[in-house]
């Protein structure tokens, strides 16, 4: 929120520098996001009195001798049409900084520094400036809008800095207001805080006015009190629409509001000053002598001031006259009752509308205004009442109308009087952990206008009507400490707390163990978004009925690509692989441990299954299916379980290089090589591999007991075999058969594969098999017996023979 220092000074004497004020505001909860002098871009511009002004023949230029006070008399070439002898204008000295303008002399194109110039052979020692060139518009200073020199007042002293004259030395504070303090969304609201923090008295804005005895037949009714707890209307007659006075235009301009006409400016002024949005209806356009505040009818239409038409629903609140909507409540007035130059009487409105309704309507209709933004944050009725008085005072002050006796105050009975709250001082200090001296508590709460009364431990305060956030001793504690100063908090270390034990639990430890094992195996941990795109499911070529397509939709996604809760981690992994390849990283391995989201019902009626999953992506010319399998096996090792693999099919994986992963007979995942066509589509240059392992299914193995197995007492025997078999027999089939042949086998390891012309349509697999004795050393004939069993079993089952 923009707060001009000069405006703030209307309500509180500020005896500190702008820097100190920023510091004070910061310490009591108001962060100044930006603070700047209005004319911060302008420097070295002084009052110049043109003593002589001669036309330079054949040009539009004038050669001037300009009195710049202590800066001497300077020769200036000036092209402006309104320069004349005896005039006083802003004079940018050599070295001055001003705004540079385009050829139209209106459009600002950055800054420039004035140097000594030569025009048509005449030296020029500076520049006489227009309003635009020194950042002053018509609203900020009358006449500054002229496309020529800005004319300074006659009493301006030659050589004096122009900033104070033009208000460029004023400061603007851009203050961020937390959501609990809607009462500070105004200049006056900030003034209250500044007064409290500086310990200075607060000066209320003038609220007085005189009512004439004029009345007109009129009525106001509110038939949606839930959305409009308070509606104040006041009829003003004898309205004379004109320009607002310079001081009001200047203030509005400083807070980013352009002046329109006195009556409209008053509503905007009150909004900025007190934080209450107001509206003025042209009385002559109100039909049926009434205002009716009600929910809109379905499909009812209104055209707002900015000439946009809206079709409304019963969720929208409208202000109607006897026949039609004349305003979208709290958002914008209707075009049909706009204040025009011809307006001669107005009905002023100050109301409290339910902030969530205004917020929702404004959002649903896509119509945002200063008023709707203000209402969305919450307006209190104390301010509603005050604002109407202020607006009527300004009507009188500006002399633009007569306040009549026709007035209405429709309310639901909420009091704007202070509310009493009793708290215990001990409790307040108990929140803080320090003891704030009683006199400081009383001083602080007095400064904040809480009228504290202290009786022993009992503190009674009167909460002003605008402090709707104050509810309990905790709120009082916050008020006290933010004014007393957080530097008084002395760090302690929960001396009263019981001892608890902490750290990761088994699940968390196990997950970390897996992550570390994967890292040790060369995989990097990545993290991807929990949501993905419907096109990610198409990328995987999943059929319409694939379970992955049953995904939870985000109702209000940022865009379609972030609109579904992921049901598989693979697509984002593929995207990561493609991204790396695109950036020239042509081999690597990444894993992600994250959730996929499996709904139990759609739309959601209960928490979905957030399934922890590990996805591994690998790419590179020198990688293959088995490199990935090796990484997958790291997970099994970390959990001390064994994975089995069976051939599988996936719509996005190589038909001959895809496996499902099993643990104790349960499918826990898959791995495989990504289809070449998908790699091509994603502009990958090297093959990619992906695996997904269901960590939740494996979680039952977390913390598996590990028992030490004593080392064998007797020497192990190792035998190597080289088998020949049909090509369709798999390594796993052979291993399984070998293992089943003898109970003493502790290790079976494939060490060679051979397929070649020599073997015709057969292949050879070579295994080394370890036999571990239990109670006594093996005699050679015992081992021979084992070997014979293995050979005969393999022969019988798969027609496998030893390679000769």
């Amino acid at each position: 929120m923009l707060v001009p220092l000069s405006w703030l000074k209307d309500y509180v004497d500020i005896n500190v520098t702008p820097d100190e004020l920023e510091e004070k505001l910061f310490s009591c909860g108001f962060e100044v996001e930006e603070k700047y002098e209005v004319g911060h871009d302008i420097s070295n511009v002084v009052v110049g009195l043109v003593k002589t002004c001669e036309d330079i023949e054949g040009t539009h230029l004038h050669l001037c001798q300009v009195d710049a006070g202590s800066h001497g008399t300077l020769q200036i070439c000036c092209g402006a049409d309104n320069v004349k002898a005896g005039g006083k204008y802003p004079l940018a000295l050599i070295g001055a900084q001003v705004y540079a303008t385009a050829k139209d002399h209106v459009t600002v194109e950055g800054l420039m520094t004035i140097g000594q110039g030569k025009l048509r052979g005449y030296d020029s020692y500076g520049m006489l400036c227009s309003g635009v060139e020194i950042g002053v518009n018509e609203d900020m200073f009358p006449g500054a809008g002229y496309n020529g020199l800005l004319v300074l007042p006659d009493d301006a002293e030659p050589g004096a800095d122009v900033k104070p004259i033009l208000g460029l030395d004023d400061y603007i504070f851009d203050i961020s207001i937390t959501a609990n303090r809607p009462d500070c969304q105004s200049i006056f609201g900030i003034a209250r805080e500044v007064a409290a923090v500086l310990g200075q008295p607060l000066k209320e804005p003038a609220l007085d006015y005189t009512e004439s005895d004029v009345t007109v037949p009129f009525d106001i009714r509110v038939s949606a009190p839930d959305l409009c707890p308070r509606y104040i209307g006041h009829y003003v007659s004898d309205v004379k629409i004109a320009e607002s006075p310079a001081w009001m235009k200047r203030r509005l301009s400083l807070v980013g509001c352009s002046a329109i006409s006195n009556v409209v400016d008053i509503t905007n002024y009150v909004l900025k000053e007190l934080g209450q949005p107001m509206h003025a209806f042209d009385f002559s356009y109100l039909e049926g002598a009434e205002i009716h505040v009600r929910r809109a009818e379905e499909g009812e239409k209104i055209v707002t001031l900015d000439e946009k038409e809206f079709a409304l629903t019963s969720e929208n609140l409208v202000i109607c006259d006897g026949k039609k909507p004349v305003a979208l409540a709290g958002i914008m007035g209707g075009l049909n009752s706009e204040i025009l130059d011809s307006t001669s009487a107005v009905m002023f409105e100050a109301a409290k509308f339910a902030h969530d309704n205004i917020r929702k309507s404004s959002k649903a209709l896509g119509q945002v205004s200063d008023s709707s933004m203000r209402f969305s944050k919450g307006v209190d009725e104390y301010t509603t009442v005050m604002a109407m008085k202020r607006a009527l005072h300004l009507i009188e002050e500006l002399g633009c109308g007569k306040v009549t006796a026709t007035k209405f105050d429709i309310n639901t009975g909420n009091s704007v009087e202070p509310k009493e709250l009793k708290v215990s001082v001990k409790q307040v200090n108990g929140v803080l952990g320090i003891t704030v001296p009683d006199e400081d508590i009383v001083r602080i709460l007095t400064n904040l206008n809480f009228a504290p009364k202290l009786n022993g431990d009992e503190l009674t305060i009167a909460i002003p009507g605008y402090r709707v956030d104050m509810e309990s001793y905790q709120d009082v504690a916050e008020e006290v400490i933010r004014m007393y100063g957080y530097e008084h908090i002395t760090p302690t270390f929960i001396p009263t707390a019981e001892v608890t034990s902490g750290g990761y639990n088994l699940k968390q430890r196990s997950e970390l163990k897996i992550k570390r094992a994967l890292c040790a195996a060369g995989a990097f941990e990545g993290v991807h978004y929990s949501f993905f795109s419907p096109s990610d499911l198409d990328l995987l070529k999943l059929p319409e009925n694939a379970p992955e397509r049953t995904a939870i939709k985000i109702l209000n996604p940022i865009n379609i690509d972030l609109s579904l809760m992921r049901t598989t981690l693979a697509p984002q992994m593929l995207a990561a692989i493609a991204r790396n390849q695109k950036r020239g990283i042509l081999s690597g391995c990444v894993y992600e441990m994250g959730n996929k989201f499996l709904p139990k019902s759609l739309p959601l009626t209960e928490y979905p299954d957030e399934r922890e999953t590990i996805c591994i992506g690998m790419w590179g010319e020198s990688e293959d299916f088995f490199s990935l399998k090796g990484i997958v096996a790291v997970i099994a090792d970390a959990l001390d379980v064994k994975f089995d693999y069976e051939r599988d099919e996936k719509t996005f994986l190589h038909p001959g290089r895809t496996a499902k992963v099993l643990c104790d007979g349960e499918v826990v995942g898959y791995l495989g090589q990504v289809l070449y066509e998908i790699c091509d589509d994603m502009d990958m240059r090297v093959p990619a591999y992906v695996a997904e392992i269901d960590l939740k299914a494996l979680s039952k193995y977390y913390g598996k007991d590990r028992k030490f197995i004593p080392l064998p007492k007797f020497l192990e025997e190792k035998r190597d075999f080289c088998f020949v078999m049909n090509k369709d027999i798999t390594c796993a089939m052979v291993e399984k058969e070998i293992a089943a042949s003898c109970e003493y086998i502790t290790k079976i390891e494939l060490f060679d594969i051979y397929e070649g012309a020599q073997l015709g349509n057969k292949k050879s697999l070579a295994f080394s098999v370890v036999f571990t004795p239990k109670d006594e050393e093996f005699k050679p004939e015992v081992i021979d017996g084992f070997v014979n069993t293995i050979l005969s079993n393999l022969k019988e089952k798969y027609d496998i023979t030893l390679r000769s």
Binding site: F26, A477, F531, L555, R583
Partner: protein
């Protein structure tokens, strides 16, 4: 003794033969081969001498044996000497030959690295774990009740505007804050409670400095007599450990619906130590977390007696800490799995 004399002669012949043969040998392998041939029990010049023993008269056997042993020892010594000499030469040659350019690149065993967020998370867990905090991992998908209402953010509360929420249904949403986990913990656990709750959170914000998904860590203590002083004490300890021992905290008023008083916690800039630099935008302070004394409404909503217990809560942006600590300049880099990024951070 004729035999012995003969033998002596024979042995001295053998000796000179061996000596001259050895002249022609120039490698340890040659020595080995030659020794093998000489010592061979059947054919060898020396090895076969013992074979002759049978033919030697009994009374001469001892002398014969002595002489044979003598020459054996002599030959062995000779061979050892030669072997030693050649081996030394050969090793020297081998070392020379095997000398490498040690500035050639190393053979890497490429290890992966934990994600920067995981690293920071582990550090935070170490710190708070040692203070007795356990770790609660909540759901990413939450209900409106747990994410807002129970945290004192009722339906019409303006604070809902502070966080643009992704809705999945009127009831379910993507949690906007890990604070949602607080309520589950307080509903299911009696004080004393000390938890931290790390996790992904989501807000509908996607631009240069915002990611629609980021990572937070909530902390909650509920016990008897917990105060704002405890909050600062605990966070002081935390920032000293996560940044450095010089780091200090500063509290300033703020607003969160579920804490009262609420504070923003700034830390003294760990780069310039408060002098003012680019990182702290010249202020000497960096905003790192939000915190406060748990609002009694929140405690009461979870069935905890606010007359007996009080609490403190804090929320830390894990990505923010990671970015600050490591100087990562764009939050989105954390979610792209670019190996050039992931390979840099290893604490």
């Amino acid at each position: 003794m004729a035999e012995l004399g003969e033998l002596k002669e024979k042995l001295s012949e053998i000796r000179s033969k061996i000596e001259s043969d050895l002249q022609g040998i120039s490698s340890s392998k040659g020595v080995y081969e030659y020794k093998k041939s000489v010592m061979d029990a059947k054919e060898g010049k020396i090895g076969s001498l013992m074979k002759e023993m049978g033919k030697i008269p009994k009374e001469l056997k001892a002398d014969y044996g002595k002489m044979v042993n003598e020459i054996k020892n002599w030959a062995q010594g000779k061979f050892d000497e030669m072997d030693e000499k050649f081996k030394a030469q050969e090793r020297k040659a081998r070392y020379e030959k095997e000398t490498i350019d040690i500035t050639l690149p190393e053979k890497k065993h490429k290890q992966g690295k934990l994600h920067p967020n995981t690293q920071v998370r582990n550090q935070i867990v170490d710190i708070f774990g040692s203070m007795g905090f356990s770790i609660y991992e909540g759901n990413e998908i939450e209900t409106d009740y747990y994410n807002f209402t129970a945290l004192n953010i009722p339906q019409d509360h303006p604070a809902r505007d502070m966080q643009d929420t992704f809705y999945l249904s009127p009831e379910f949403l993507l949690r906007t804050q890990t604070s949602a986990g607080q309520i589950h913990v307080m509903e299911n656990q009696k004080p004393p409670i000390k938890i931290i709750s790390p996790g992904k959170v989501f807000r509908s914000d996607d631009d240069a400095t915002h990611s629609p998904m980021f990572t937070q860590m909530e902390g909650l203590v509920v016990d008897k007599g917990i105060t704002l002083c405890d909050l600062q004490g605990m966070l002081d300890e935390f920032v000293k450990k996560i940044f450095d021992e010089e780091t200090r905290t500063r509290l300033r008023p703020s607003y969160f619906p579920f804490t009262e008083p609420s504070v923003e916690v700034d830390v003294s800039c760990f780069q310039c130590h408060g002098k003012g630099c680019k990182l702290c935008k010249g202020t000497g302070w960096i905003e790192v977390l939000g915190a406060g004394v748990v609002n009694k409404k929140v405690l009461e909503g979870c069935g905890i007696d606010s007359n007996v217990y009080s609490g403190l809560a804090f929320g830390i942006g894990i990505d923010r800490i990671a970015m600050l600590k490591y100087g990562i300049n764009n939050i989105k880099l954390l979610f792209e799995s670019d190996l050039r990024v992931l390979d840099q951070i290893d604490d």
